[in-house]
């Protein structure tokens, strides 16, 4: 009983997260401010350095800087809807200094300037949304200051030139190669195989004083609980904006995060890990069946031996996937996956052509009016998809009123019209059914083998 309740609870919490992530905005609505940035000033705080070194003289220095930003923006105080009438002219700030006159239909989101609209004539506004029938203009008020903060992490590694520890150099156009630090020069891209920098890639910035200096790509962290920003682009779309990328002139929305969207990638990773764990179960099932066959010497038991040999062989070959260093493993990987598995997959796929022919021959019989309709439309579309259809009815193109009866054109009409309509109707029903099934599982209302009783 407690197992079912635990499963039901976990299911409900997981479903609740996805439901809330879908319906709750990424920022708290009441405390979100929208406006046009006038200036961005950054004040880096003193750096906090963490230093790591080992016996061979390699030194890594990680510097964390908290950057406090002061964003001055004119906030939107209210929204005015301007009907998009043909020929209406407005003024907006041009690419060069000053205002330019444009037609209202050419205005884009995030445009700024004065707008001719009766009482709003001298009101400075910013375009929030443009549609065929209307333009939403946000009236800008005074300048307000918003304070944001983020953390910038810069890491540099210093390696003695005389060190014997090799790194993998991947410079443009060359194949990766293992080299010692004395062969490195500024601009080289290196990847590390030794801990704790294993897997990291950096660029050699300087070679001086008997040391090679490698710098890594800076990382930016926005701590939880801080403000997040969303930028509106000229197409009207809203995108997440990193704090350090905000610039003057942009239309932004800044507010406290509701956390949900930021966790989405982590939650999806969890689902991936869960799926990966299940691979063990599949292998166990395979072992169970085939080992029993071998032990009891059932008919064709030797095929079970081949299965296990193939699994081991595939695991060894998989070691060579993307492995540039162990050549035999890479070659084995190529042989198994590219020269055996892929052609076999294509062969199985090609079976479909023959199966389709025999299935069509056996089943497409004119047994009822619906079957006749299906058969005739299938024949028209099949002929319309291939050049033979055009070859048969090309002559109809010479006559004015019957050229639409050419097979490709009838086929196209069937696909664009009745077929699309039927597909849309089916999708519509299926998606609503999917919502109902999802709702039943989420609230543990499903009946059957999974849930005998409610929570």
């Amino acid at each position: 009983m407690w197992k079912k309740r635990l499963i039901a609870t976990v299911t409900f919490i997981a479903g609740l997260y996805f439901f809330l992530e879908y319906v709750v905005p990424p920022m708290v609505p009441a405390r979100t401010r929208q406006g046009v940035i006038q200036s961005v000033r950054s004040a880096p705080m003193p750096k906090v350095a963490k230093r790591w070194s080992d016996k061979s003289g390699v030194v890594e220095v990680e510097e964390r800087t908290v950057v406090r930003q002061r964003i001055d923006a004119r906030l939107v105080t209210r929204t005015v809807t301007v009907p998009n009438r043909p020929g209406q002219v407005v003024r907006r700030e041009g690419e060069q200094a000053g205002l330019e006159e444009v037609r209202l239909k050419d205005v884009r989101a995030a445009d700024r300037g004065f707008f001719l609209s009766g009482r709003e004539r001298r009101t400075r506004g910013v375009v929030l949304e443009v549609t065929r029938d209307r333009v939403d203009v946000g009236v800008l008020g005074g300048v307000s200051t918003i304070r944001m903060a983020y953390q910038r992490i810069e890491t540099t590694l210093s390696i003695p030139i005389a060190s014997e520890r090799e790194v993998t150099r991947t410079t443009k156009g060359d194949t990766p190669e293992r080299v010692t630090p004395d062969k490195l020069k500024p601009g080289d891209t290196v990847t590390f195989k030794w801990r704790p920098q294993k897997g990291k890639t950096g660029t050699v910035s300087k070679v001086e004083g008997g040391k090679v200096l490698v710098s890594f790509f800076p990382t930016v962290i926005v701590p939880y609980g801080r403000l997040v920003a969303f930028r509106t682009r000229s197409t009207g779309a809203v995108e997440s904006a990193a704090a350090e990328s905000l610039e003057a002139g942009e239309l932004v929305r800044i507010g406290p995060t509701t956390y949900l969207s930021r966790m989405l990638a982590s939650v999806n990773n969890f689902l991936t890990v869960l799926g990966a764990m299940a691979w063990g179960m599949g292998l166990f099932s395979l072992w169970l069946v085939h080992s029993m066959n071998i032990r009891r010497r059932r008919p064709e038991w030797y095929l079970g031996v081949i299965v296990f040999v193939a699994i081991g062989f595939g695991a060894v070959a998989g070691y060579g996937f993307g492995n540039e260093e162990v050549l035999w493993a890479r070659n084995l990987n190529d042989v198994v996956f590219e020269h055996m598995l892929l052609p076999m997959g294509s062969t199985v796929f090609s079976l479909l052509a023959f199966y389709m022919a025999s299935a069509a021959y056996r089943s497409f019989k004119a047994k009822s009016s619906e079957a006749i309709l299906m058969m005739v439309s299938a024949l028209i579309i099949m002929l319309g998809q291939i050049p033979v259809g055009m070859w048969l009815t090309e002559w109809l193109g010479h006559y004015k009123y019957v050229d639409a009866l050419q097979l490709p054109k009838i086929s196209q009409w069937i696909l664009y019209g009745p077929s699309s309509a039927a597909v849309k109707g089916m999708w519509f029903g299926m998606m609503l059914g999917a919502i109902a099934v999802g709702l039943r599982f989420w609230l543990s209302l499903e009946r059957g083998a999974f849930f005998d009783r409610e929570m």
């Binding site: 879908y22 319906v23 809203v238 179960m281 599949g282 299935a359 299926m430 609503l432 109902a436 059957g448």
Partner: protein, 260 residues
């Protein structure tokens, strides 16, 4: 994309409320009618045929993972087929290429057998992870059909291009085949090679149809009412945009424009 707005929120809450309302009113005893679905009715006949011939049945829950709606619906059908098989003492073999499905299918079958008082019928070897690819499982299934001489085949769930690879060998083998998928472009292949086909939404209604349980029937009716409401909105919107003035179109855009 900004999908979190009051329009989406309202629609989801309204749909959910409708479905839940119908579920609870069905539980309160209100009579529910749903039309006959031939493919699902014939499941009993297919199980009976396998029993008469003394041969096992084969079930494949689709080619997609457990998180998809079609697979969840297929596992509901699996429970029903397993219960019928336990009642008639007919062996059921389940095949898949998704490792995650194996323990879930084992649980479903074991529970079904236990609910019919036949827990001893369960054999873990009958729930088989045959290979890692759906086309490879199709070939292995063809071999299995010949070796085990299966009499009835059930193919429910999400299917891709390999659908015909599963059903055509079964057709030549002479077994009775029932298939159901919500991937509508595979439905023609199932119609051509199976005796009965369950189409699209009928698969998602399968659990409700087979168990006739009040909760499931209620949710089915709730989603149908939801369809009617959305159709009505579409009709109103189409008429308003076609016949209305600019003011009407602006008002309509503000209300439902985010659904583009």
């Amino acid at each position: 994309m900004e999908h979190a707005n009051w329009q989406i929120f309202t629609l989801i809450v309204a749909m959910s409320f409708l479905i839940l309302y119908k579920i609870f009113s069905a539980r309160a005893g209100k009579k529910i009618y749903i039309r006959r679905i031939a493919g699902l009715n014939e499941i009993d006949e297919a199980v009976g045929r396998a029993t008469e011939m003394g041969r096992p049945m084969l079930f494949h829950p689709g080619v997609d993972t457990i998180t998809t709606i079609g697979t969840l619906a297929a596992l509901g059908v699996l429970g029903h087929v397993a219960r019928l098989g336990a009642r008639m003492s007919t062996r059921l073999i389940v095949i898949t290429h998704i490792p995650l499905i194996v323990p879930i299918a084992e649980d479903v079958v074991k529970q079904s057998y236990t609910s019919e008082g036949r827990p001893e019928m369960f054999d873990a070897e009958d729930i088989r992870f045959l290979a890692a690819g759906s086309d490879q499982v199709a070939l292995a299934a063809a071999n299995l059909m010949a070796k085990e001489q299966t009499a009835s085949h059930f193919f429910f769930g999400e299917y891709d291009y390999t659908s015909l690879l599963y059903t055509e060998p079964g057709q030549h083998h002479g077994a009775i085949q029932i298939a159901g998928t919500n991937q509508y472009y595979q439905i023609p292949f199932f119609i051509a090679s199976c005796d009965y086909t369950v189409i699209g939404e009928e698969l998602l209604a399968a659990s409700a149809y087979l168990t006739r349980e009040a909760t499931m029937l209620g949710s089915l009716i709730g989603q149908d009412y939801g369809k009617i409401i959305i159709l009505a909105l579409m009709l109103v919107g189409t008429l308003a945009v076609t016949l209305g003035t600019q003011g009407v179109r602006i008002a309509l855009e503000k209300v439902i424009g985010v659904y583009k």
